[in-house]
Amino acid sequence: MSRIEDRLTEALGHEAEALDVDARRLLAATRERLPARRAHRRTPVVLTAGAAALVVAVAGVGLGIDRLGGDDRVASDRPVDTVFTCPEQQAVDLSGAQDEFVPDLRDRTPAQVAKENRAPRWRFDEDGDTARLYLGNADGTLGSISTYTRRDDTWVLSQSTVCGNGSPATPTSDGLRLGVRDTEPHPPQNALATGDRGLTPILVDDRSVYDYSGLVTRHRSLYVAPCGTRFCWSSGQPGSAITTQSPTGSRDARGGLRDLSGIFFLADDMVGRDQPFVFLAIPDQPGATAFEVTAGSEVYSGARLTDPSWGGRAVWVALAPYDGSSVRAELRGVDAVIVGQDVDVTDD
């Protein structure tokens, strides 16, 4: 065997062994995936026992009493928030240009609207000639508010606001979500075990993806920890993680700056869609006091991440909305730019 073959064999073995795989956890996740796929085709709706009481209560207070009774297949009697906690909302175009989310009550009951949109919770409030339908996630957080006005004997949809950015597959482009979240983050995924040698992973961000009706379809939690001479990054949910690495040193021409945006996106979801944000990381340097990303004409401040177990290593991260405009990143000291780089976001 030649020297290059020896080196390759040794490097492959070392790289493979560095990846710690919890086969039992992975099996459990796969097992959940098997029946889930079948269930998706066969039984799209889960019945809830307490739903009928709420339906009857709602039906008793206003119009459409006859239609509301009896449809208990989706709605829950658990409460739904009436204010948004999601970081980004948008108004729904009700002009007829889209039909992905039209919570019309003229031919349907609130329960039916909830069912059609797979909303685990809903709430319908009347106040004189107006009414509001709240669709919520399983944890009670609010996904959408639709407002109706009374006309003759029915409710006419007047406006609707939903969580998200209008894309059912891409995460929202709001800023870094350090310490402020609207859902419980997933624990660090096993893939981070490449950097899990007694070093504490830091939760960087938890980012949700919303469907057209503003409900959370999934969320992915991003962690970082040093691993050897690199920082290891892992973004995901139980049983599914995307990993990558970035340098802990600044010796290269870019000062160690890396665009890690892709760690948030599932490749299948992004086909035909635009990247909504740019997520950058750069290793800390002596004297650095700030990390700023300029996207178009807006400046977005980053954050410095470190932990006592990291042995003095630290990394700066920043997230900025991306709309095709120029992007520049700067690691700054008190009175000087330590690293200044235009980010080459390919535009072909």
Binding site: R3, E5, L12, G13, A23, L26, I263, V271
Partner: protein, 171 residues
Amino acid sequence: METVVTPRSRGRSAAADEAVFDALFLGHAARLTRLAHLLGARDAEDVVQEAFVKLYAAWSRVAGEDAIPYLNRIVVNEVRSRARRQQTADRKRHLVTVATDEPGPDGSRRAVVDELARLPRRQREALVLRYWLDLPHEQVAEIMGVRPGTVKSQVSRGLAALATALGEEES
């Protein structure tokens, strides 16, 4: 020595099949995850889950001794197709590819792995299957869906490219 677990035998109950599936998973999931990782999958665990989901769907027609090569093929194909989709997605969404570091001058293992990642897909597949799984050319060819002669040439070219990139004279 790996324990060979077969997916199917005549007359076995459904419960027994489930147990065999679990044993097969526990016996090979770690190796397959590492294989996917070495082939460049960014979501290696998801690739392996997908492979076993497909095996589960094909359970009744996968003959016993074919299970392991079947899983190897699924993993290789899954990594391939995800890489293609990723390239398409990158073009569509103007996403910058996450760059790897320049290899260090010290000839470290990391430099070898980084250079391996820069090789064309087929060369990378051939080298990983040949030198990590230690498979003969014929089995590598079966998994990659090419002829053994093609595997030999891909291995040769891959080694030469690595040697050049790492500043070594291939002996």
